[in-house]
Symmetry: C2
Subunit: 168 residues, 2 copies
DNA sequence: GTGAATGCAAACATTTTGCAGGGTG
DNA sequence: CACCCTGCAAAATGTTTGCATTCAC
């Protein structure tokens, strides 16, 4: 009954460079489909975005770009993220506030979240049983299920790190 | 295996006047605890809010107040909704866009949603099995679970009504 | 070269805040 | 009568849009 081991470990696969091949490929075909262009800024932004942890806001990506020495307008950040969103390559979420955060949309994978209310720590998890139940509930209501969002809010265990993050 | 009948029917209990006694009581004690005051505007707004269906935005409540003949500033709407939010009497959510919607926070009850992507129809449901699984997942990650949000997105069955609502 | 992409600034939408006046306990 | 609450307007926040210029194909 070890739930933890039932969840796939995505962190590893996401950190290697090659694992995002599918992302760049999908982007390429989306761009040529729509007669859109590859640009320096887009490539740089997406590289940065993929290197950062998930749940990035436009502002964070903007800062990251500036720190990497690129002078890219905030408008371009939004336009790029919206593009990726329309291409179904990232997902736009709003956890709290009016702030949108974006995350890579791995096809066929789901992104449920455990979120610490004190420090904002986000842990991803996946649970097949819950997925199945969701399908059953949708069917019972004659809904054709397209997507879902499951966020669990609580307090994480690690007091020190939690307090640390909280001071930001 | 009839999931529908496993869910409590809240619509009925919410529509009767008396059923919100607990809400007003909780509000009273919150206000006196914090040395806050009862005012005409607050009472009116809350009465309206409780009479309306759930998932109300500040703007919608503002309109409702205007239509009821009250001249209440939008700032007061926000301040009231935030007050109720801090008192844990309503829950602030953001389904889409940057728009917050609010719903009554029935103590001990959960508000999961089935949302039609085409027409915006919202159906509430409750499922004990999912609740239990959530608790287990949180525990496995050493989280103390405080709240959750589960939204299922899909397409509803009723084509005509769906198209109708969609034109708004 | 044509049309899309960029940066900037202005526009926009939603929510918060400052302030003077009015109401509640 | 102290202090909270209100309405209004201004500010703050997050996101989008218009426009002239630059860049990709």
């Amino acid at each position: 009954m070890d739930l933890l081991s039932m969840e796939k470990n995505k962190a590893k696969s996401q950190s290697s460079r090659e694992s995002y091949r599918w992302f760049w490929d999908a982007l390429d075909s989306y761009l040529s489909d729509k007669n859109l262009k590859q640009t320096q800024q887009r490539r740089k932004l997406i590289e940065l975005f993929l290197k950062m942890n998930n749940h990035i806001s436009a502002e964070e990506l903007h800062d990251a770009a500036r720190k990497a020495g690129h002078n890219i307008g905030l408008a371009t950040i939004y336009r790029t993220l919206n593009l990726l969103s329309e291409a179904d390559l990232v997902e736009q979420k709003s956890f709290v506030n009016g702030r949108h955060v974006y995350e890579v949309n791995m096809p066929g994978e789901h992104h449920d979240h455990l979120i610490c209310l004190k420090c904002g720590l986000v842990i991803e998890f996946e649970n097949e049983e819950i997925e199945k139940l969701q399908e059953r509930i949708a069917t019972a209501h004659k809904f054709e299920l397209k997507a879902h969002r499951l966020d669990l809010f609580g307090h994480c265990a690690n007091k020190e790190e939690c307090d640390l993050r909280n001071t930001n």
